[in-house]
Assembly symmetry: C2
Homo-oligomer: 189 residues x 2
């Protein structure tokens, strides 16, 4: 077995924890995580204080890429409405993948049922960042109530993630008209 | 210990499975379920083929009461718009309780990540019943697109359940304006 170009045990554990908790849920066992990552339990506990910390670190590691997969690029010159719509176009596209199980950050919070869990805190920050993006775009456009609109858009984002994640809906012909209706009602141009 | 007025082992298991899976998640162990219900594992396996079957049966048992807690009474003479709004008023009221963890049927589907699990099937039927209620009310009112409106309303229902269930939002001043906007856009009177 060569380890020349192999990621470090820490990287392998983070990657495995993110993938398996997303596919199987946060209840995935330490043994399974270590075996899949090819890391001994002893090594795992030298790298992370607990499974909870490993889970939180794996979510933190993926947060920037997840947010980037949804938000428009910083130099995207489109208007505020289009920049908001971009997020939902991305979500609809992601939801079309067979391996889609919903927003990983929502799923973790729903599964843990513990707002004080370190992984719940990471998840909350990701969603607050998304809400803040919506709020800022709405405010910059002069929308009627940027706070309400941001709450509505995150609610629709999470509802759509959840519905598509469980296979109850496919979002096509649903999410975009819904968001347009809310943007119209808020007076977004 | 008297057992005079005590529910049967079957009833205790169903009640315990519903309560603990809602509070802690579907990963709650057989030992914990049996100990809390005061039923031996041997007795449990005489009553249910597996923990999966117990979970599905516990969800099935609560389905009628859950739906009744949301829908208007059969003899409720209010108009279609008010009958739909009633569901979301109930959800907002339920979400105000400190023990609220979201819609139990959505939570189970998100946690199991397996549409073929017997408990997922029960959950899906409950939600399809809710969607059908919305669709029928919208159609009876002559709404523009009853199918789309029903999908939107279930999406909002699940998004609101999820957001309030994880403590990310409290729904006050959010869910009712959102539903009104969608009903207006669909031309509901």
């Amino acid at each position: 077995m060569t380890t020349a170009a192999r990621p470090s045990p820490r990287e392998r554990l983070l990657e495995t924890a993110a993938a398996l908790s997303y596919q199987q849920g946060v209840g995935v066992g330490i043994e399974t995580l270590c075996r899949t990552a090819g890391v001994s339990k002893r090594s795992m506990y030298q790298l992370f204080d607990s499974k909870d910390e490993l889970l939180a670190a794996s979510l933190e590691r993926g947060a920037a890429a997840y947010t980037a997969s949804l938000l428009p690029a910083a130099d995207d010159a489109r208007g505020h409405r289009e920049r908001i719509l971009h997020v939902f176009e991305q979500l609809e596209a992601q939801a079309g993948a067979p391996e889609f199980r919903g927003c990983p950050y929502l799923a973790v919070e729903m599964e843990l049922k513990d707002p004080d869990h370190p992984a719940s805190r990471v998840a909350r920050e990701v969603k607050e960042g998304l809400a803040e993006f919506f709020r800022a775009e709405a405010a910059a456009d002069g929308a009627l109530s940027p706070d309400l609109l941001a709450r509505q858009l995150v609610l629709v984002f999470d509802g759509a993630s959840a519905r598509a994640g469980i296979g109850a809906d496919h979002l096509a012909g649903l999410i975009m008209p819904t968001v347009h209706t809310l943007l119209d009602a808020a007076g977004m141009r």
